[in-house]
Structures are given as structure tokens and as C-alpha cells.
């Protein structure tokens, strides 16, 4: 690992800004290009970069596998729950305008933010879960046999 000093320093430098940029894309999604899927992908990229450079154990200390699996369900539940909430307000499924009947624009903002948050959480955790599944496999060729 001594050999990868430069990569480790640059990774430490970049993981924070990548996470902030993912949150920017996430919460700017209703005004400008961007949204849940892109934000989730960028968010997952930060963890995957950290895992590639520092190893699977270190990244699983930060973002343990049980949390990844729970969050991938939580995002879908948030999406579906938004729709069910509008059903409970005597409206159609995912009808955001029913959240605040006096000001439908504000209700639509809230609905889009919640749905995009659900999409973002699910995409990020599923991508990290796929990375864990690939990286946790035992190597086919040992280091000594190269």
C-alpha cells in the first residue's frame, strides 16, 4: 500500500466534494437538470472510490452491508409512501397537489423532493451493494500466482 500514497491522498481530498456534489444534484433536481438517479450514482461513486483505494473492510466500517440492504428498501418505501399519503388525502396515487390544496405548487415541490430522495437513496445503496457483492468474492488467482 506504500506504493499507492498519491492515490490515497487524492482520494481523501476528493471523497468529501463528491458527496457534496451528489447532495447538490439531489436537492437541485426540481429546478435544473439532475435528480435522484444521478445523485444516487454520484453518491455511490464516492463510496466505491473509497473502497477501491482503501480496501473493502475500511469502506464497510463506514457503510456496513446491513445498512446498505436496509436503505435500498427504505428508498422504495419512501417513494411508495408518498403515493399512499396522497391516497390517504382522498386523491389519486402520487398526486402531489393534494399535499397542500391551498398552494398546489408548494405541494408539488414537496412531493418531487420526497420522491427524488427515495430514488436517490435506493440507487446509491443498490450500487454500493452491487460493488460489495463483486468486491467480496474471493480472488480467482492469488497474488503469488501472477
Amino acid at each position: 500500500m506504500r506504493h499507492h500514497l498519491l492515490l490515497r491522498v487524492i482520494t481523501k481530498l476528493l471523497v468529501g466534494p463528491i458527496l457534496i456534489f451528489a447532495l447538490y444534484v439531489q436537492f437541485h433536481g426540481e429546478y435544473s437538470p439532475g435528480g435522484g438517479f444521478q445523485a444516487g450514482a454520484i453518491f455511490a461513486v464516492a463510496f466505491i472510490l473509497f473502497g477501491i483505494v482503501f480496501g473493502l473492510d475500511k469502506v464497510q466500517e463506514v457503510f456496513p452491508p446491513w445498512l446498505v440492504h436496509k436503505l435500498s428498501a427504505v428508498g422504495v418505501l419512501l417513494y411508495a409512501g408518498t403515493g399512499v399519503y396522497s391516497l390517504m388525502l382522498n386523491s389519486t396515487y402520487l398526486n402531489y397537489s393534494s399535499f397542500s390544496p391551498s398552494n398546489p405548487i408548494s405541494g408539488q415541490h414537496w412531493g418531487i423532493i420526497l420522491v427524488e430522495l427515495g430514488v436517490g437513496i435506493t440507487v446509491a445503496s443498490v450500487m454500493v451493494a452491487i460493488y460489495y457483492a463483486f468486491a467480496a468474492r474471493p480472488p480467482v488467482i492469488n497474488d503469488e500466482e501472477w
Binding site: 500500500m1 506504493h3 498519491l6 487524492i10 481530498l13 476528493l14 497474488d143 503469488e144
Partner: protein, 132 residues
């Protein structure tokens, strides 16, 4: 004022065209150079210079706005990541034993370092392997 605008306009377009020329030259070098090391050299150096000049030209076009701030952030990001990616590629090639022509001296150095590390660790495993 209009003369100042003209000067800024000319300067920004010179920067943008020069940056584009650097990018094109880097792309041609990547395609046409004979071996791996000269290709890496062409693409990394020309890309960094072209990216900086393009960002500078677009910053001048943007003026004092949010776009300029975003461009500066993009420029800093690319200025850090581009050379790092080149370093990772070149380092992987070097560690796996892919040396430039006429670099046998360097290969001997690697073998000497390898043997010294083997003696120090008294293990069969080489320190240069398994780093990829």
C-alpha cells in the same frame, strides 16, 4: 469600455482556440504515437494544458457570475483528477513490468529493490507483486 470588451473577447477566444488545438494535438498523439509511454505522455500533458486554457477562456466569457465559479471548481477538480488518473495508469504499467525502450537500467534497479525486500522480509512474496 468597448475597447476593453474587445480585448477580453479576443483574449478569451485565443485561449479557447489554443485549448482546442491542444486537445486535438493530444488526441492525434494518442492515436499516432508508437508505444504506451509516449501515448500516455501526449494525452496527459496536452489534456491538462488544453483543459486549463478552455476553462480560462470560458471564465472570461462568463464574467462575474455563478457560471464562472462553477467553471473554476470544475477546473480545479480536473486539474487534480487528470494527472492522478495518468499516474495510476502509468504506475500500474510500470509495476507490472512494462518498461519504456532503453530502460534496462531501471529494470535492474527494480530487481535489486525486489531482492532486498525479499531478504528483509524473508518471505516468498514479492513486494512489487500484488500492488496492482
Amino acid at each position: 469600455m468597448s475597447i476593453l470588451n474587445l480585448v477580453f473577447e479576443i483574449f478569451s477566444w485565443v485561449a479557447i482556440l489554443l485549448g482546442s488545438a491542444f486537445m486535438v494535438i493530444g488526441a492525434i498523439g494518442t492515436l499516432r504515437f508508437p508505444d504506451f509511454w509516449s501515448r500516455v505522455h501526449a494525452v496527459s500533458v496536452a489534456d491538462s494544458a488544453g483543459m486549463l486554457l478552455l476553462t480560462l477562456g470560458m471564465c472570461i466569457q462568463g464574467g462575474f457570475t455563478l457560471v464562472t465559479v462553477k467553471l473554476i471548481i470544475i477546473g480545479i477538480f480536473l486539474f487534480i483528477t487528470g494527472p492522478t488518473a495518468t499516474h495510476a495508469v502509468a504506475n500500474a504499467a510500470l509495476v507490472s513490468g512494462f518498461l519504456p525502450k532503453g530502460a534496462d537500467r531501471f529494470r535492474r534497479k527494480i530487481v535489486i529493490a525486489d531482492n532486498a525486500a525479499k531478504k528483509a522480509k524473508k518471505k516468498k512474496r514479492s513486494p512489487l507483486k500484488g500492488m496492482l
